[in-house]
């Protein structure tokens, strides 16, 4: 006997019957079918035939379902009559509203799905970007009282140096005198080679003053941090190791404290093990004391930061440091370097801002721009959903009217409609969070690794709270207008039998306003994305001054003592150059103190023979690079005049230099720089004069967008270096040479690691990483916005056309041509488009100046971008209006009139 129950249940499934009653019916009908089946078999039918007949009878014309639907009460009672007093207080009624809302959303699945998708996109994008903003900009640094930490630096724009750190002499001067900042620490980061236990390893290292740990509240888990006397240059052979290194390299052995490590070939005694999680600056694994000499101005390379005294702000700190800086120079040289009353004297500018802000400087603007962009996308999404709901509220006019007639007050109606919106908003937020969770995984993989704490990117409570807030605001934005509008129906009109649902002027105006807002907002976003894209295009076509294709770079550093014996260093690098030149696959090779797009490299003062600055005039500054023969060919920097550095430039030969075009053009705009003489250092320097033998193209050094610095290149054979980049130009894939390069270095000295190995192309791409990501995201948001706006205007036009179908019928019947009707509808759409365009252009003009720092060779009011985007928007909007307009012309006059 077949089991009929599943078949019967499936037929009753959508009746929403009380489950007990439903099962009773199933049982009874199944018995009937059993009997009928048996009867048919008894009459000689085959089992298959009997089964078929029984099922056919069950299915007859859906009578069963239709009749039962009429008879049996559904599980839920009919929608509560809004307005009638509800037992159990307002919460009880609310639950009713929720259930009713769910049902009514289920009744229009199309609208619900579209609204949910739109919302989840909008809310998800906001949550994802906010999680980055939160992790990078908002979350305090993991230091003691991070809000009071202030970083400060100098600036000498007239020397072409926007940011300059301080030398130890100034640091010591500031530290002993500052009242605004206490304590005050200096630090810089570099890397050292650890040898001895296991393979040689290059470790990120912080050189820090003794106050550094106290300033940041970094306490050691074992041992101690540095003592003030360990800042003395002969006492600084001590180190604090990070928790990570201690675990990784030393197996968490607590006896390491007191033992010596070999760093760059010298013994350093471990005095402490840092607590877990502290890796400042620059993911340091080791710290060693910064040797401070109150007289030394040798290295303007220390970052300085301090803790604000209570009640002071960063501006106070900047003012005080500027004053102390003047005092310093007055004591040292008898005159201040800056004179506030003089306009031609160079100024010692000092800037100070919260440490957090300084650390995230370069990503702050892009992140805020992206946050603004996702907010705009969400606004547009809200306008879309509001329009959908508005249309539905109008269509439900009669339902609302009936409820009003039954005594529901307007507040109950508003609440009911708002609850529906709330359900949408919360479901959208849940989907959005899932989306954000996915995107955050991708974002953390993509965003440049220099951001502090980016490894802690997560959907934490702050993000959840933000999402909840966004959801509620969203709800108000898209739910309120339709709800208020929905509650205001003309009872007579709506309840009258046969009256078609009306769409009042006010409702239409509201629809129109939403469309105009959408268009304006998407224009703003498109203009922003357009400007950034143009910038990026410009960046990609910038002449870098070298050819990054097929170039491999790796850094090799000698122990620090090599500094004391320049000849040894020169010999080592000379041998290394010979060896790598001979490698198969290497076309040319050269060495430089700093390859382009690598970290480091400082400016130095230099003088031109015959043009020594008068007292009080600023010194000239140039970036100095030490290079070997073959370097320019390897990196691909073209020679413009004279010759490059070659094998003829020996230690005993004439002292020579090569300069770059920027420097040559600045000082010899009309003449040939070749043959002129320069000297490193200021007027008091005893360095030898160097004869310029060649001019090479200007090179971008760390950033595609930067102004090229002025460069002086010196031959290694006439100078010294203890840390050089090996630059190999390969005949094919440069990365394949990595192993060979390491082998050659190890063959010379097995204790030397090769580190920071990268291709030049990688380095250039990395420098564009933030921009690339910002652009991609912004473009994606802008396209989303455009699509949403197109859907929005399409929806409103289509709704308008469907409500005016008899008007068009009459017009066509009275002799209007389809073209006229088309024009009528298009004209109406275009009015909205133009209004949106005007508002959007005005908004974009006001907002794009915030993009200023992200733009490259593009004006914030770039007419090309504005024009192109406006055209694009008009074209898309035209398309969206055209479809409904076409439908209007296709109205059959008779059919339309029949409705009247």
């Amino acid at each position: 006997m077949p089991d009929w129950k599943p078949e019967i249940r499936s037929r009753l499934a959508d009746l929403d019957l009380d489950p007990v009653r439903s099962e009773e019916i199933v049982l009874e009908l199944a018995q009937h079918l059993d009997d009928r089946y048996g009867e048919l078999l008894g009459h000689g039918a085959s089992e298959a035939d009997a089964r078929r007949v029984v099922l056919e009878e069950l299915a007859t014309g859906d009578v069963l379902r239709d009749e039962l639907r009429r008879l049996e009460r559904p599980a839920d009672p009919a929608p509560p009559v809004l307005g009638k007093p509800v037992a159990g207080g307002w919460l009880n009624g609310l639950w009713g509203d929720v259930r009713f809302g769910l049902r009514s959303l289920r009744r229009s699945p199309g609208l619900t799905v579209v609204a949910l998708l739109t919302l989840s996109l909008g809310i998800g994008a906001n949550a994802a970007i906010f999680s980055v903003v939160n992790a990078v900009l908002l979350r305090p640094l993991p230091f003691r009282e991070p809000g009071r930490l202030v970083a400060f630096w100098g600036s000498a724009p007239e020397m072409g140096i926007p940011v300059v750190n301080y030398p130890d002499a100034l640091y010591v001067y500031f530290r002993t005198r500052s009242r605004v900042l206490d304590p005050l620490a200096a630090y810089s980061s570099y890397s050292v080679t650890l040898t001895g236990a296991g393979d040689p390893e290059r470790l990120n290292t912080g050189t820090v003053t003794a106050d550094f740990f106290r300033l940041l509240g970094a306490t050691p888990q074992d041992g101690r941090t540095f003592l003030p006397e360990e800042e003395a240059r002969d006492r600084n052979q001590v180190t604090v190791v990070s928790h990570g290194l201690w675990q990784r390299r030393f197996g968490g052995d607590p006896r390491i404290v007191g033992k010596a490590l070999t760093l760059d070939g010298k013994p350093f005694t471990v005095v402490g093990i840092m607590r877990p999680g502290f890796d400042f600056p620059n993911r340091a694994e080791l710290w060693i004391p910064l040797g401070t000499d109150p007289q030394s101005l040798g290295c303007w390379c220390f970052a300085t930061t301090g803790r604000l005294a209570p009640g002071r702000n960063p501006q106070d700190a900047a003012r005080e440091i500027a004053r102390l800086s003047d005092d310093f120079w007055r004591e040292r040289e008898g005159k201040p370097r800056s004179d506030p009353d003089s306009t031609d004297a160079p100024k010692n500018l000092v800037f100070a801002e919260p440490l957090l802000r300084q650390l995230v400087g370069e990503v702050r603007t892009p992140l805020l721009v992206l946050l603004g962009a996702v907010a705009i996308v969400l606004l547009i999404a809200c306008a879309n959903i509001a329009n959908l709901l508005l249309a539905r509220a109008t269509a439900r006019g009669r339902e609302v009217a009936v409820r009003c007639c039954l005594g529901a007050g307007p507040w109950r109606i508003v609440r009911q409609l708002l609850v529906e919106s709330l359900i949408l908003a919360l479901a959208g937020a849940a989907l959005g969070l899932a989306l954000a969770y996915g995107s955050v995984q991708v974002l953390s993989g993509l965003v440049v690794e220099r951001l502090p704490h980016l490894h802690e990117l997560a959907l934490d409570p702050a993000v959840l709270l933000f999402t909840l807030g966004v959801t509620l605001v969203t709800l108000m934005l898209f739910g309120l207008a339709p709800a208020l509008r929905g509650a205001r129906v003309d009872l007579q009109d709506a309840v009258k039998e046969g009256t078609r649902t009306t769409r009042g002027g006010r409702s239409r105006r509201l629809n129109d306003a939403f469309v105009v807002a959408q268009l304006a907002l998407s224009l703003v976003l498109l203009v922003g994305a357009g400007l950034l894209l143009r910038s990026f295009q410009n960046l990609m076509t910038v002449d870098l001054g070298f050819r990054p294709e097929n170039v491999l770079v790796g850094r090799v550093s000698l122990p620090y003592e090599a500094n004391q014996e320049p000849a040894k260093g020169r010999a080592f690098y000379g041998q290394l150059l010979e060896r790598v030149r001979g490698l198969p696959g290497v076309r040319t090779a050269g060495l430089t103190s700093n390859a382009p797009f690598s970290v480091g490299g400082n400016g130095q003062i230099f003088m031109i023979k015959g043009r020594e600055p008068a007292p009080g005039q600023p010194n000239l500054v140039a970036a100095i690079r030490t290079v070997t023969p073959g370097y320019f060919a390897a990196v691909g920097t073209p020679l413009l005049r004279g010759r490059v550095i070659d094998e003829t430039d020996t230690a005993t030969g004439p002292q020579v230099a090569v300069v770059d075009e920027t420097l040559a053009r600045r000082f010899w705009p009309d003449a040939n720089a070749v043959g002129a003489q320069v000297r490193l250092g200021d007027a008091s320097s005893t360095n030898p004069w160097l004869t310029i033998v060649g001019v090479v193209a200007s090179v971008k050094h760390g950033d595609v967008a930067e102004e090229a610095l002025r460069y002086v290149y010196l031959p290694l054979s006439q100078g010294s270096a203890w840390s050089m980049d090996v630059v190999l130009r390969a005949s094919s894939d440069p990365a394949a040479l990595t192993g060979a390069m390491r082998r050659e270095v190890q063959a010379l000295d097995p204790t030397l690691p090769v580190y920071e190995v990268h291709t030049l192309e990688q380095a250039v791409a990395r420098s564009l990483g933030t921009q690339r990501l910002t652009n991609r995201l912004l473009l994606a948001f802008a396209v989303t916005a455009l699509l949403l706006a197109a859907v929005g205007i399409y929806g409103v036009m289509a709704l308008g056309v469907s409500h005016r179908v008899n008007e068009f019928g009459i017009r066509l019947a009275l002799g209007a041509t389809p073209a006229r009707v088309l024009g009528l509808v298009l004209g109406q759409g275009m009015r909205l488009v133009l209004l949106g365009l005007a508002l959007g252009l005005a908004g974009a003009a006001g907002l794009t100046r915030f993009l200023g720092s992200l733009l490259f060779h593009v004006e914030p009011l770039d007419p090309v971008t504005f024009g192109a985007v406006a055209l694009l928007l008009v074209a898309v909007a035209c398309g969206a209006c055209y479809l409904p307009a076409r439908r209007a012309t296709a109205t059959d006059p008779l059919r339309a009139l029949r409705y009247e």
């Binding site: 009773e24 019916i25 009874e28 009908l29 018995q31 009937h32 079918l33 009997d35 009928r36 009878e57 069950l58 299915a59 007859t60 014309g61 009578v63 069963l64 009749e67 039962l68 009429r70 008879l71 049996e72």
Partner: protein
Amino acid sequence: MTSTDLKKGSAELLILSLLEREPRHGYELGRLIESRSRGALRFNVASLYPLLYRLEKRGWIQGRWVEKAGQRRRRYYRLTSEGKSVLRARRRSWSEFVEAVRRIVGAEYA
């Protein structure tokens, strides 16, 4: 009275009549209607049960699960007192209707 109403009304009358003497279950009702009308009237599962449920809802009949020896549990319908009075009224008007029709139709052929 439209034909649908008539049919619906007569079907109700049939069920009520068949339940007058004793309680019966749905299948039996369907079989009885078919056999006593010699196949002229047939109800299948889809049309019969909604009818029964409607009558039950009106309070004219009442269904109850009954277990008889040697049989499985079945739902038997019996006439309620309200159903009885409805049956009486329906019978009367039905007789009047049939009489009226007979007079017209019979007169033509008389």
